[in-house]
Symmetry: C3
Subunit: 277 residues, 3 copies
């Protein structure tokens, strides 16, 4: 929901509640947030919608993240964008998110970025406390490399259930450097951000290939990108940035489709502009 604040038509709680209800009816029940999206507005707007239609609350599952402080929110003289995966700070961020989102429990709480200053034992304690207190159901990370999540995992009895990081037809390096397999080995679900390639797909893949693929599969560009992603072992979960119902339906259609293996590779090689070795 990182772009929620850019949709004036959804700022009225009742309208957003309708939007959420429509997604739930379509089978989408996980909503991805972070404290910094819209400078905090995204969580609050979502919470307002749940307060407007409280029956939605039990039907939604919410992911949220904390640990990045934008420069404008740094009240010190340094005014610097920085990471803050500090135990106390994260504990407070969880409480604040529960209030903003108006949920009883965050389904999955993620550390937003790997902070070189992260004190793993202390952070693990505060996350375990949040789980014990029922504030958070499960924990994960975002944009972590394998060695980074392994160090955190070593410090907690809780499983790290997911890593939200970039993966799409326009960002395929992790499929070739062992990152994919590290997720699988550790049982960490990949939540793929920018799964549609940030709108750059059409720049990377020639129009005639996209149209041939559409003829063959019936899938448009959005559905192709999502079908392509879902075929990867471990079944990465796309984190859809768009709020557009049509686009979301296309993505959902893609998620339920299967590409022939040669087409999967054809799209990959076209996007990378090179054949496999």
């Amino acid at each position: 929901m990182m772009r929620l604040h850019n949709h004036p038509e959804l700022t009225q709680p009742a309208r957003l509640a309708d939007w959420v209800a429509a997604r739930l009816d379509e089978g989408l029940n996980v909503f991805d947030h972070a404290d910094i999206y819209g400078a905090g507005q995204c969580e609050k707007l979502f919470g307002d919608a749940l307060r407007a239609h409280p029956t939605l609350t039990k039907r939604v599952r919410v992911i949220t993240k904390a640990g990045i402080v934008p420069a404008v929110q740094d009240s010190t003289p340094w005014q610097v964008k920085h990471y803050r995966a500090e135990a106390d700070y994260l504990g407070n961020a969880i409480d604040k998110a529960l209030g903003s989102l108006s949920v009883e429990r965050i389904d999955t709480f993620l550390i937003h970025r790997p902070d070189p200053l992260l004190q793993a034992a202390e952070v693990a304690r505060v996350l375990e406390d949040a789980v014990s207190a029922g504030k958070v159901r499960q924990i994960g990370v975002s944009n972590f490399l394998p060695e980074q999540w392994r160090w955190l995992a070593r410090n907690t009895r809780l499983p790290l259930v997911c890593n939200q990081s970039q993966l799409s037809l326009t960002h395929t390096t992790p499929l070739f450097d062992g990152t994919l397999e590290a997720h699988l080995t550790d049982g960490i679900r990949w939540l793929a951000w920018s799964p549609l390639g940030g709108g750059n797909l059409a720049e990377r893949i020639p129009a005639d290939l996209l149209s041939r693929a559409r003829e063959e599969t019936g899938l448009d560009e959005t559905a192709l990108a999502i079908a392509w992603l879902r075929q990867i072992p471990g079944t990465p979960v796309p984190v859809i940035g768009s709020m557009n119902p049509d686009r979301i339906r296309c993505a959902l259609h893609g998620a339920r489709s299967q590409l022939p293996r040669p087409l999967w590779y054809r799209l990959l090689e076209s996007a990378r502009n090179m054949a496999v070795a």
Copy 2:
């Protein structure tokens, strides 16, 4: 045997059988194949030779690989080079290789490339079945990175005995980025492809150094490259691409030679065009 089909003098089964017998007499008994070498011709020519001289069959050990589909063999409209480390496909590839090669058992079967779509549990089952059925003695991989083979290894009770990947005086990065040590830690034997540097050795190492090294050691360029390789911990096994008996004898001579450590480094640093740090 990836260049076997380029040797018209060896296409007659009896001639190739003589060639194989000569290698066996010299102490070389492992022959490296893949389904795609010569578009399948290499395995078949080798099998024809064994059928011509069946007594050779018990003396040879055969490596073969599958999992790459060249564009010309892709019968879909996409005609794309792609990887296909799929359980059923690999199971069939093993059966097909047994027929082509005319052996009762493949000594070592390798997955040719790390396929991002590889479903490790299913692939592991099909490889285990092939071993249980006596079709394959042992399994390994090719061109895998550590995280990639570790994920596959996690899924099977069978050891992955080797990784066939590039290593030579002209490809030394794996000696400095931890890849070598990952092989050693996991007990994975390195089968080095392109061990002579694809014929580029003389471009990378000045002629006067090669001639000084020859004076000092009595080894020619081929023997030097192989001696250099064999000195690496774990004793990498060179996969000789050449079919030339003289060159193979030089390589064999190199494999039984020892370079003084300073010369080992002198060759390395000359090929890298930089001293060690």
Copy 3:
């Protein structure tokens, strides 16, 4: 003590002994050596000082390293800089260092560089023997990557207590590629060489930021660099190259100071010339 031989004022044993005593009084008791520093002169000068003031011997802890052979010390015709982490060679290097340094025991002995020819089992035996014989208290490595130290660690019952490698405001890559976390996971203390950035800090960080930081914290450039380093999880130990007592006192002051987290990031981002993601 890699620059000790460049300080003529300290070549007299009594003068150097005074220098050492002053450091001990300030709370610094670990002195970092290597067989190659000053072509062997650094260890010898230090040993002369201890012989001049034997009471210092019990108060100092000495790190030393071996395994690099400079080209000028290669007596073969190849005259090449090379690594030599060979069991016998390292065993002899330990004996030689004990003599040069005039200590009964080396506190921590390090393999200076990851040698691709390192035979881990043999090297582990010789290091274990040195520890059993009381010649060395503990062992570690230098400039090793995680896979490299893990392979050595697998071969010995002794813990590898540290890895001496580069880390500073001007060399921050290891904070972002998982290297930091690999040290933490394996319990390997980071000894940071070139902790002041080799004097390049002022080129990388604008003067006005350094002066604002000084106003805010009271720390000069040296103290800032060390405070910054010590704040990293695992508390890396700076290996100070300077022999200048004033500079060392500044470093010591920095090591006991704490930077506000935003300033830590402000320095990082300025040195990298980019904000965090």
